[in-house]
Amino acid sequence: MGVNLVSLARRAPVSVYPCIGPEMLPAVEALWQARGIRLSATPRDAEILLVAGEIPDDARPALDRVHDQVPPPRAVHHWAGDGDPHDALVALRDRLARGEGLSPDRQPDEPPNEWRGKGDNGQGGKGMMGGVPYGRPMAMTDDDLRDGLALDAYSAQFGPFAPMLPPGLVLDLTLQGDVIVKAAVAAPPFPQPPEASRPAACAARLLRLLGLDGPAARVAAGRSPNAFFAVRAVPAGLGAAAPGADIRSRLRGWLADEPGTYQAPDPAQMLPGLEWHEAVLTLASYTPDALRLACLAAAEGRAA
């Protein structure tokens, strides 16, 4: 009976959280179709951290943070994109089950910032406002874009390994609730090979963001999405770069296998005013190439 249970557990797909490096997006996206591998949306949900390709030095601290967020016992698999990693991942999970190959925390077990508050309960300053508990300020009120009701703004860096953003892109965002009020690009997306900007790959990526995994898999395999509602799943008129050029039209073009000559706007200009889901869909409605070029051009424009 015990032996049966173990073999039954081994049949479950290995859940991995992918950290995608430069030139590795198509290889990792091919894993969506791979049998026996499940790409998880958060490190909490993963057993193994899949580090695909060479992670540049400036993204290493972020990689360490994501690594430590995979709950122990955890393991790391470095993958250069060659061949099917399934067997290696299963072998790694077997070793984990035996208590071998564990990857210890890379960061010290200390709060990321030093405690500098005044109160006993972490309040720091007066009431909910002010103070710097654990070296991090409390949210302060900021102007709202929509109706001027000034409430607290939350600012954070997102990426470079956020599952809903292009790999490598680091966004410096200030949010009011779910509305982005300020945006800046801290790092552009990693360069990706031309396959990543293929219409089918881009359409599949957008469909996956919409939660339409089945149609996404069919599109990625070069078939019809077989879902007449797929385009209508995107709100009409969202992400309109020009009249008649919204996300829907870009998705429709990709589904018709038209690469489109869409030039992406600078995310720092494009994102403020959008809600989080709108921002994510808008970013995914441009090819990774176009987005990288836009970020680099904007950075050059600022430097000049």
Binding site: R65, P108, D109, R136, L149, L151, S155, A156, G159
Partner: protein, 119 residues
């Protein structure tokens, strides 16, 4: 009566013991959990937060919830009213009509103020 009292005391003790065992189990699970500082950090795809997430934000659905409560209250009154209506007849009908009219004025007012426009 005495037997009933004995049984209830025994049941009480069983419940107390079960609660104590459960509480101790949860406490032990808390000790075994690997809750390190990096694990407690929010997941931002490798990014870090600049401010704490304890904040006030505009709950934009609240006008919708008020309308929902208005409709719900209406329904709540209608169930007991249905019983009264069987006894009283037209009089109850007229009273409910008045109540619904007042409520509808509120809804029409909200409509004019734009509470049904989702933003």
């Amino acid at each position: 009566m005495r037997r009933f009292r004995t049984v209830s005391v025994v049941v009480f003790i069983i419940y107390l013991a079960a609660a104590l065992v459960l509480a101790l189990m949860f406490r032990a699970a808390g000790y075994w959990r690997a809750d390190t500082a990096p694990q407690a950090a929010p997941f931002l795809g490798g990014g870090t937060a600049r401010t704490h997430a304890w904040q006030r934000f505009h709950f934009r659905a609240y006008t919708m919830t008020l309308v929902f409560i208005a409709f719900e209250m209406e329904m709540m009154f209608m169930y007991p009213w249905a019983v009264v209506f069987v006894e009283e007849g037209v009089k109850a009908m007229a009273e409910m009509g008045m109540f619904l009219a007042i409520l509808s004025i509120g809804i029409l007012y909200g409509w004019r103020e734009g509470i049904f426009a989702w933003e």
